[in-house]
Structures are given as C-alpha cells and as structure tokens.
Point group: C2
Chain length 422, copies 2
C-alpha cells in the first residue's frame, strides 16, 4: 500500500509552490531532538529499516490522486509530479541501535527541495515513535539488569501499528520477547504468554484451571495466581507440583507486589520449588522495577505494558525535521528557543579507553572524510547498505550501552556533553 | 489484510485449552474503564465503526497459520479452528460520540468463550486509543469554546495508523479539520495547512516567500510569521495586504504567544486588517488555550499537535476487557483494586430537564426492556445497524456535551455519579 498520503497537506502545498517558483535546488533536511526529556539520559536510534521501506512505498496511487484532485487545490502539473514521485535522493543516518543525544541528527535526507520536503511528516512520525520506545526500553533494561523483561503493551499501544513496532524497538533494546503475534511473525521476535484471569475464572477452581492448562501445554506452565487470594493460590500450585505437574513459574498481576512476591517465594522455597520463577506484570515500569529490586524483592521476570508502550513519563520527544542547507547555503532560523543548526552533519564520538566521553557534531565534508556515526544508507533513492538483523542491532546497542558512563544507565539525570561545531 | 495476529499469544493458548477442555459455553466480555484519569471528567466513546471492520477482518491467513504452526505450540485441530475463525457472536455498544464515565461498558461481546476471548487484545488496542483521543479533543474543545481547533498531530502520533484515527476521533469531538491527508481521504475530514518555516527560509526574504505562496494559492494566504522576527514580519504582511494580496491569516509557532499575539493583533488592526485571523500552533493543549483565552489574548484558531495526539497529561486510560458472565453465571474477580462487575449491562442515564444528573449501570435483561445507552450492533457476527456518518456522530456528541453540567467541561476535576446495581 502506498504511503504518499501519510503526510500533511502543507508538505504538498509547499512542494507545488516550490516547483512553480523554481525552488528546486539541492536541500538537506535533518531529523534531531533539540533537547532530551528530563527523564532520559540518552536516546536509542530506532526505525531506520522501517523508514526506508516506507520511503520506498511513498507513492501516490490513482485513488490518492483522485482525492487530491477533488480538493481543488493542486494544479494538474503538480498532480502529474506526484503521480511519478519516487524519492531519488540520499539518506544518511546513524545505524539503528546507536546511543544518541540532543542535537544529533538521526536521519539526514538530501535531494531536490520539493522531493525531500514532502517526506517530512512521515519521517518524524516513524522515527520519533520508534526511537522514543527503544529509548524507554533501554532505560527499563538499565535498571532491570539481568532480569528478563517482556513487552506486554500491545493492547494499550496507539493502534496496532504502534504495538507491532514497539515490540521491535524494545527487542532491540534488550527485551526478551513480546506478547504480540504479529510482531513475532513479522520480525521473528520470541512470543510469550500463557493465561489471563478469564481463563482461571471459567473453571470451578484455580487448580482445575491450572491442571487443564498443563494438560494442553505441559511446557508452558506459568500460572496466574492472583485471581482470588495469591498466597492461597501459591499453596495450590505447590500441591500441583507435588502431584507431578512440572511448574515453570507463577505470575502476579495485582496487589502489593513487594510483600506478595516475597511471601510467594518463601512458600515456594519451603516446598523445594526454588526453580519456580516469579513473574510480575502490574503497572511495571523502570521506577517500579528499581523500587522492587532495590528492596531485594525476589522477582525473575517483568512484563511491562501500558507505561512502557506509551512512554508515559516522557510521552514524546522534541524531535524535528529541519531544513539545514539549501542550494549550498546554510539555513538558520532565529525563533526564540527554536534555533536550528545549519549544514549536513557528522557525529564524532570521543572515547577514553572503552568509555564514551563526549560528542562533537561537525560539518560533514564532501567527500566525507571524518569517521563518525553517520553513514550513507540510500543513494539515488536506493538502499545501498545491507540492513543488519535485529540481533545484530541488539548487539551493537549492547556495546554502546556498555560504553556509557554507568550513571547514565540509572534513573538519575545526567547530561552528556555534545558540542555543535560551527 | 487479516487482523488475526493483532492479538497476544495468550489469547490463543487460552482458546486452544478452552476447546480441549469443553469450555465453550456462552461468554460475555465487557470493555470499560475502572476509573477515569484525574485529568478527565468524562470520556467520549469512539472507534466502534473502526472496530467492527477490524473484527470482520479478524481472520488467519495461510501465512499466519504457517507462522503459528512454526511456534510448535498449537495442535493441528486448533490451527484448523483458527483457519475457519469468523466472529459469529453479538456486539453491544454505546454509540460513538457518547459521553461515558467510569465503570460504564463501551463494548460488550458475546459468543462461545474461545471465539470472544481471542478478540480481547484487538478490542482494547482499538477502542482505548480512539476513546482516549476523542476524550482529549472534547476536553480541548471545552475550553476552546467557539475558537477553531485543528489537528496538527500526525507527525508525533505513534506511527501512521494512530495519526489517521486520531484525526477521526478529534473531528468527532469538534475539531474543524486535520493536517493529515490520509485521514482526509479515508474519512472525508477537511484538511488544513499552508507552509512551514522551511518554505519561508528558501526565499531571499519573507515577503518573497509570501508573494510566491499567494501566487500559487491565492485562497490559502495564511502566512507563517515567526521564522525570524514576528512583529517585523507582521509589518511585511501589512505591506503585502496594502499591495493587494488578500491575507486570510497569520500563524505564530514560537515565542511568548500571549504578548506576540496581542502585539500582532494591534498592528493588524491599526492597519485596517481586522479580518485577518491569528492562528497559534506552539505547544498548544487545553491548559495553554485556557491560559491564553482567560488572559484575553486575541486568537482565532489553534493548531494542536504533540500534547493532543499523545494525550500527554493522561497518556492512557485504565480500560480493560473482562469476562463478566460465563454459561449463565456471574464472573467476579476479587484481586485487591481490580474488582469486576458481573453480567451484561445496560447504562441508564437520568436527566433533570435537559441536564444529565447521574447514571446507573444495571443488569441487561433478555430481551432488553430497559431503555439505555447500550444497543446491539452486531448479531451472529454481522453488523445489524447502519453506522452513522461522522457528522451525525459529531452532532450526537455535541448534544451530550451540552447536557453535561457545565463545570464538567472545565479543567477543574468533577466526578459524575455512576452507580453499579447488583
């Protein structure tokens, strides 16, 4: 399906007017965040491969053109231009799974001005969300440490597309899997899940439900134990284990998690069930995880949902797509608080040993001779670089995260030094 | 495209186990919010027509079944069940554009347990978001009064699907239009937009940009005046108007909006341009609108973006899909803080004259003899009621909003009395 109308009207009015007034010079647009949210010490670039596919599909079909024609706004000449629209320019980007900061361009698009202008809305729409979610997930993993974290967010995502791409973004950032099947199919992400409260409630007793489930899926015996009385249910799980049902874990989804998990662990351990895992899934985010693990609560895995998938503590990034160069000249804006940084840019990262120290955002020369994070990914509208697998992206990010000064992975605010060179 | 995998793994593991253990009795699931966010006095039901289409498309294609088979989790019998899956049950709902409150079921689905269970994830995913956005938009309109509000949010929406459906939800709630073309095409919503800062900056001078734009679109002369110096630019607009260019409006997108808009209005008025509208689009939400209008700042229209489309002050609703009845018996859960309300329900709204006073959520009899907000929309898996047009929904909502006690439309917290009858 074409994505040509995944844009704003003003992108097309500008484009027609550019074409009519000969403003078709070489333009460079840059996508970056002016500042990071107070609740984020770094961002994780995410969504490049998805965006490239969306750009390749940025076409105007005949029904799109009929619609646009019916607006009585556009000239026939311009509608013909849209009909043959293909992105033929250059896309430079930092790879997915790179740690980035304020003022650092994630995506830079170049080409004839109207051709690059019309992609603005789509580029921001796609990269802002995916980067926001990968960043949130990386922050969660920063406090979860070696505990397993699973994406349970699909139902509270903003429609299906957001849920599917959030699963991808969070897997890159270190989550172990997702509840969502479409993401599993599309991206090969491990899928996780067993039962909800409704399952427990349609059987006469909890133990009947668990026995039934174990008979259907003997290898997926993770039981939801908080439907009625969590501790009483733990004892029922113990009895089932003693009766020969091999229990993998128990899930708690409500109540005072700290005291319940501690008491459940005690009951399990006293009955020789040290190997049974405790899985928590109620209102979990990095703050809850830090509190629970800081208090020594015995938890093995977390399912994160609503607060993760809406990035509720920082529900948007201040990410913009700005014209930085036109026809060889720098483009500045001087609106208060909305300064732009002209020219195409490279990001140079400085290390001390294996540790990141500071970044410089410098003008990118042509040909590009300064080694840095930004590389050319599309040329003449074609992808010129093989896309890494999700596991390769995951590995790259893990390396970047390991290179961060450790306090950047905590929930305390830290600001990384980024200097924009003129 | 099928939506069968727009679900969570556990919906399917439960369904297979239900089928294996004869749990195929008649089930009723109810979608409602336990509580409203502190920042919302009411919700606006939204998304029913979209959901019905998604349910009709809830099918498992051969590639979906291949994927599921490859998980080595499901039996062939169950995969065959999925292959022939069609929703054949009943959907009862409040109409779109209805004011609703905590504990009131927006959607109730009935049928054989496994058939209704597997829709859970999709139903919450679709209705939670659309209702959250319609509710946010209605709250914005509550303070915007007779000012025009436009959806500029697409770029910061959570992927394209969210942006498209947010435009629909906000139009229902009283917005005048959207920037997004796909929403315009798909739902017939008016589309709005002229130029961005990039447009202004590629011409030698601002007045050159405005002249060029006016020559391309003589009927869309809404100029962006804050690229460099807002007041200096206003004087350029005055000069253009005096030179014969008919100016519709000016847009300010940065800076101290209160003082700038006041000063711009003064310059325009002093030059006989009382008819030129002032359009504001920088970080706008209901709090900003209330502040600006409360201070008497002369503004005609608002463009709302990021904070609107992420519902950033209340970025999720506590909306759940719960089993409330199985095989004729009520289903309760007793987890602390997560009580459920058993049985299929009708919502009875009480008025004093034209004014809403309180609601009762009562058991729905069969046949349904109590008049209320809930009506049957799908029966035997088929839509049995014509869907209203967006403008009909808009009219219905305007009537509901007018019936609210006036302080519910303000930003002060008010809690509407809802009684759940046993």
């Amino acid at each position: 399906m074409g994505t040509g109308l995944y844009t704003d009207l003003y992108e097309l009015t500008m484009a027609q007017s550019y074409l009519e007034h000969g403003r078709t010079g070489h333009a460079v647009f840059s996508l970056y965040s002016r500042t990071l949210p107070a609740e984020r010490n770094f961002l994780v670039s995410c969504g490049l491969e998805i965006l490239i596919r969306q750009i390749e599909l940025f076409r105007f079909g005949s029904d799109d053109l009929d619609y646009l024609s019916g607006l009585n706004t556009f000239s026939d000449t311009f509608l013909d231009w849209l009909r043959s629209y293909r992105f033929t320019g250059t896309l430079s980007a930092v790879p997915e799974g790179t740690v980035v900061f304020q003022k650092e361009p994630l995506i830079q698009l170049e080409g004839e001005l109207p051709e690059v202008q019309v992609l603005e809305t789509l580029v921001v729409n796609s990269i802002q969300f995916q980067t926001m979610i990968a960043s949130k997930a990386a922050r969660i993993m920063g406090v979860a440490g070696d505990k397993t974290v699973i994406d349970f967010g699909f139902r509270r995502a903003h429609m299906a597309d957001a849920g599917i791409h959030a699963a991808r973004a969070s897997y890159i950032a270190g989550f172990s899997g997702t509840s969502n099947l479409e993401a599993g199919k599309r991206f090969g992400i491990p899928v996780v899940g067993t039962m909800a409260h409704s399952y427990v409630m349609v059987f006469p007793r909890e133990e009947d439900a668990f026995r039934a489930f174990a008979s259907t899926f003997p290898e997926k015996t993770l039981f939801l134990i908080d439907t009625f009385d969590t501790l009483a249910c733990t004892k029922k799980v113990v009895a089932l284990a003693k009766a020969g049902i091999p229990v993998i874990g128990v899930r708690i989804d409500s109540g005072d998690i700290g005291s319940l998990a501690t008491a459940v662990r005690k009951i399990l351990d006293e009955n020789g069930l040290q190997s049974v895992k405790i899985f928590i899934s109620s209102g979990i985010d990095e703050y809850a995880i830090a509190g629970l693990l800081g208090a020594g609560v015995p938890i093995d895995s977390f399912g994160v949902g609503t607060k993760f998938i809406t990035s509720s503590d920082a529900p948007f990034l201040d990410m913009i797509y700005k014209l930085v160069e036109y026809d060889g000249r720098p483009i500045f804006k001087t609106s208060p608080g909305k300064e732009t940084f002209p020219f195409k840019r490279q990001i140079v990262r400085h290390y001390s040993g294996d540790r990141m120290v500071c970044d410089e955002v410098v003008r990118m020369e042509s040909p590009d001779t300064i080694p840095g994070l930004v590389t050319e990914v599309m040329r003449d509208g074609t992808c010129v670089r093989p896309m890494p697998s999700l596991d390769q992206i995951k590995t790259r990010l893990a390396r970047d995260i390991a290179a961060l000064p450790p306090h950047f992975r905590s929930l305390n605010k830290a600001e990384y030094p980024v200097t924009v060179r003129s």
